[in-house]
Symmetry: C2
Subunit: 247 residues, 2 copies
C-alpha cells in the first residue's frame, strides 16, 4: 500500500467545514472523497490534520490516504485538480512513509487571522477578513499576546462542545505575531496543537484588550482562570485560515 | 446643486461590468443608481471615470452625481453601504466643486493585473488573478515593457469594437511596473487614459515576450505597427483591477 500526502488550499466560504457530514452538507473532505473515488475507482479513507469549521479557509491543510494505485503523484495531482470544484486546489501530492498520519504526526500548525481595521467593509476580500472598524491599541495587543506564548493550559480559550472538547488542554504556542499591513491586521499563531475554536477565542480576547475593554495584564488572568467564561467573544470564522501544518 | 464624488471598491466577478445596460444585466452602475434613488427619493445621473468590463474589479473606481439633498456625506456613505450589495463598497463620499466630472477631469488612472505563476490554480484568489503556469522570463518582460512607457500611439493595443474605439489613440503611460511577490506577478500600469482593453492586450503581449514566443525588441515593432493583429492575446478580465483614478 502507498501512503499519499496531500497539501490542500480551499476557500471555506461555501463549505460546512472540513469534516464529512451528512451527504446534503458540502464539505471539503466530502468533495475530496468523491474525487478520489472517481480517480481510483474505489473509496479511500482520508485523514485530515484536523477539522476546520464552516467558513474557515486553508492555504495548507494536509491529509493522507492509502492506495494500491500505481498512478504517479503528478498525475494524481492533475486528475484531482481537474475533478475538484474550483474552491479546492491540491497544491502537492507525494508518497510518504507508511507511518505518516496527517493528524497524529502533526508537529506544529500555523493559523492566520485577518482583520480589516478600516471603517468600511471590504467588497473584494469580504469572505477572507473580519471587519473591525473601531480603534485598536496594537502595542497593547502585542503585550497581552506575549503572555500566551509558551506552554500553558488553554482551557479558557476552548469553546464548550462536549463532542469536541479535549481532556488535555495544555498546548504550546511557539509564535504569536501581530502584523499590520495597510488597513489589515494579521494575527499569526503557531502551536503544537489547537483546542476547539482556540484561535478565534484568542483573537476575540486580544481585540477586547486592544479596544481597552479589559485592563492591561488581564489576558494572563483569563489564561490562569481556566474557564471559558472570562475570555472574549469568538471571532468570526471567515477571518481564519489554516496556513500550514508542519510534520 | 451639490456635486458628490464617490470612491468605489467592487468585486467585478458577478457584474456585467460597470456600465448600466438592460435591466436584466447586473452592473455596478445599475446597483449604485438603485441605491441612490432609494436614498434620495429621486433618480440621479451617475458619471463614472470610465467603464470596466465584465469580471474586472476596482479598488478605487470614481463616480460623481449632482443632488439637491442636504444629507451630510458621512451619512450618504453609511446609507449607501447599508443598501448596496456586499460586492460593492463606497470608500469615500465627498463634496467637490461643480465643475468636477468623473470622466473628463481624469488626470491619470492606475490598473493592476495579477498573474499567478505557479503550476496550480488558486482556490482562494480564483476570481482575482489569471493562472499562468508556464516559464516566464521576467527580466525580458521588464525590458520590453520599457518601450511602452511614454507618449505613444497605442492603436496596436486597442481591441476592435466600433462602438468603443477612439479616434485619438495616443496615450501616455507614465509608469509600468512588473513586480514579483511570492507566486504572484503584478503588472501596474499608470496612464493618462486607456483604450478599450489596452491593459489586457499589453499584458497578453508582455506574456508572449516573457514566454519567448516573440523575439526581443518585438514589442516596439508591434507598437509601431499600429495594428491590433500583431499584439498578443487579450488577458482574461478577472486578473484586472482599476486601482485608482487621479484628478
Amino acid at each position: 500500500m502507498r501512503n499519499i500526502k496531500l497539501t490542500i488550499e480551499y476557500d471555506g466560504t461555501h463549505f460546512k467545514g472540513w469534516q464529512l457530514q451528512k451527504p446534503s452538507s458540502r464539505t471539503v473532505q466530502g468533495e475530496l472523497l468523491k474525487a478520489c473515488a472517481q480517480i481510483f475507482g474505489t473509496k479511500v479513507v482520508l485523514i485530515g490534520s484536523g477539522r476546520t469549521d464552516s467558513g474557515v479557509h486553508a492555504l495548507g491543510q494536509v491529509a493522507n490516504f492509502k492506495t494500491r494505485s500505481s498512478m504517479p503523484t503528478d498525475e494524481m495531482l492533475r486528475a484531482l485538480n481537474a475533478i475538484l470544484p474550483e474552491d479546492i486546489a491540491i497544491l502537492e501530492a507525494k508518497d510518504v512513509p507508511a507511518d505518516f498520519h496527517a493528524q497524529f504526526s502533526v508537529k506544529k500548525k500555523t493559523y492566520r487571522y485577518a482583520l480589516l481595521t478600516r471603517p468600511i467593509r471590504a467588497a473584494q476580500e469580504r469572505y477572507f477578513c473580519t471587519l473591525y472598524p473601531y480603534r485598536l491599541n496594537i502595542a497593547r495587543m502585542r503585550t497581552e499576546a506575549k503572555t500566551l506564548v509558551g506552554k500553558h493550559d488553554f482551557k479558557s480559550f476552548q469553546a464548550n462542545d462536549p463532542r469536541r472538547n479535549k481532556k488535555n488542554t495544555i498546548r504550546t504556542i511557539s509564535k504569536l505575531i501581530i502584523r499590520k499591513k495597510g488597513d489589515y491586521l494579521f494575527i499569526d499563531i503557531e502551536a503544537n496543537g489547537f483546542l476547539y475554536k482556540m484561535v478565534r477565542n484568542i483573537v476575540g480576547t486580544l481585540l477586547e484588550a486592544g479596544a481597552g475593554r479589559i485592563p492591561p495584564g488581564n489576558v494572563k488572568t483569563i489564561l490562569k482562570a481556566q474557564s471559558r467564561t472570562l475570555a472574549g467573544k469568538t471571532a468570526p470564522a471567515k477571518g481564519l485560515c489554516l496556513v500550514k501544518v508542519d510534520y
